[in-house]
Amino acid sequence: MKIKILGPGCANCQRLEERTKEAVEALGLDVNLEKVTDAAEIASYGIMRTPGLVIDDMVVVAGRVPSTREISDLLKS
């Protein structure tokens, strides 16, 4: 599974990264986590408000930091 965190490094992006790592660890998944910080590349995903969470090239959350539980639900589906 490939996960991307879209965000230039603001507080919300860091929190999303933390929570995603927590969720991944709790589920014991083997994932490839990548951070996308370039604004133009972030924009190319069609999101206008960071942070964004991309799972297998699909934007699943944009513009807010979901709870760890919501992230694990997203990872499971």
Binding site: R15, A39, S44, Y45, M48, D57, R64, S67
Partner: protein, 349 residues
């Protein structure tokens, strides 16, 4: 059935918790003044007329008051804003002509949830959807300049008059500056790749499917995020106020920075550019300096300059804007702020 009871119980806990928090907020707000009176004047035995006594009282009282205001305002604003999204704003602005578009963009800039760290993706998203550059700039200027947190704090600290003036001035600057930049045919000063950006995938509206629980959690998260970011500004701003309160002679500032000082506003705007903070962070300092007798127009100009003209944001925007447009942006907005500063000083004198 059990599911039903569970959700109802969760709802009850949520609204009960919220009501309890609101009650605690009001009690603390009410107790703030008597508590510091008691602690500083009775327990420490300092006189309200002494420098140390008045400075300590000012500091303690203001830290709690502004802290409470911030918590309440940020929470309420974030929950309300979760009903609005930047995707909806873009849809409203798409295909809008300049003029009407600038006015709408400035107004939407106030209510759309937005952080300057998203300025570049938002810019690309707007332009790729066909929103004119000038209209996009009106949005980007209004968003930090006139946000609800600033409005709430101004209301709580200065009352309705200065708040309305501030909002009117901020919107005017955003509308006029965006319109002027549009007149420049600013498209030629936008990095070409912006126009070639193809948005892949489906647009996700960041607010669809949110429950009340989600919205409340977002509000709580935002309070923590903002307070963690601005607490040093808060303490420094209030600390400056406390020192002025206790030790600086009252005519010190009025001698050097009165409304009649022709350079006052320009110096204030210049000082604001390297400083970077949001409105919530700079407000305590503004209030402290106002208490010291600095004119309101000069202070609002300073605040606008801090929030609307910031070096880090310019560096971010450099990714999509050529230096000419960044220069024009700074020149137009700074001129607007200077004009607002002088007019307020004249109006309120």
């Amino acid at each position: 059935m059990t599911m039903d009871v569970d959700t109802r119980r969760a709802g009850l806990r949520r609204w009960g918790g919220l009501a309890l928090a609101a009650g605690a907020w009001f009690v603390l707000y009410r107790l703030n003044q008597p508590f510091w009176d008691w602690l500083i004047y009775d327990v420490f035995g300092l006189s309200p007329e002494s420098a140390a006594g008045s400075a300590l009282h000012f500091f303690g009282y203001d830290v709690v008051k502004i802290g409470l205001l911030l918590v309440g305002i940020i929470f309420a604003v974030t929950v309300l804003r979760s009903f609005m999204s930047i995707e909806r704003t873009r849809a409203l602005l798409g295909g809008r002509r300049e003029g009407v578009g600038n006015v709408m963009a400035a107004g939407l800039g106030v209510i759309t949830p937005f952080c300057s760290c998203s300025a570049v993706p938002a810019f690309i998203g707007f332009v790729a959807a066909g929103v004119p550059i000038g209209v996009t700039m009106s949005f980007l200027i209004a968003s930090p300049l006139v946000n609800e947190i600033a409005i709430g704090l101004l209301l709580g600290m200065f009352g309705i008059g200065p708040t309305l003036l501030y909002v009117a001035a901020g919107l005017t600057i955003a509308i006029v500056a965006g319109w002027i930049l549009g007149r420049f045919h600013a498209e030629r000063w936008v990095e070409p790749f912006v126009f070639e950006t193809r948005l892949r995938g489906q647009v996700i509206d960041s607010t669809t499917g949110l429950t009340w629980g989600d919205r409340i959690a977002m509000g709580r998260d935002e309070v923590v995020t903002i307070l963690r970011k601005i607490w040093p500004y808060l303490l420094v701003g209030i600390g400056v106020g406390a020192i002025i309160h206790g030790w600086v002679p009252t005519d010190f500032f009025t001698t050097y920075a009165s409304a009649s000082n022709p350079l006052g506003v320009i110096v204030a705007v210049g000082l604001g550019v390297p400083l970077y903070s949001n409105a919530a962070g700079v407000m305590p300092l503004v209030q402290s300096l106002y208490g010291a007798g600095l004119p309101m127009g000069t202070l609002l100009a300073f605040m606008m300059s801090v929030v609307a003209l910031s070096l880090p944001e310019m560096i971010l925007l450099r990714r999509v804007l050529k230096p000419q447009l960044i220069g024009a942006f700074i020149a137009v907005v700074a001129t607007g702020i200077v004009i607002v500063g002088y007019s307020f000083n004249l109006l309120l004198a």
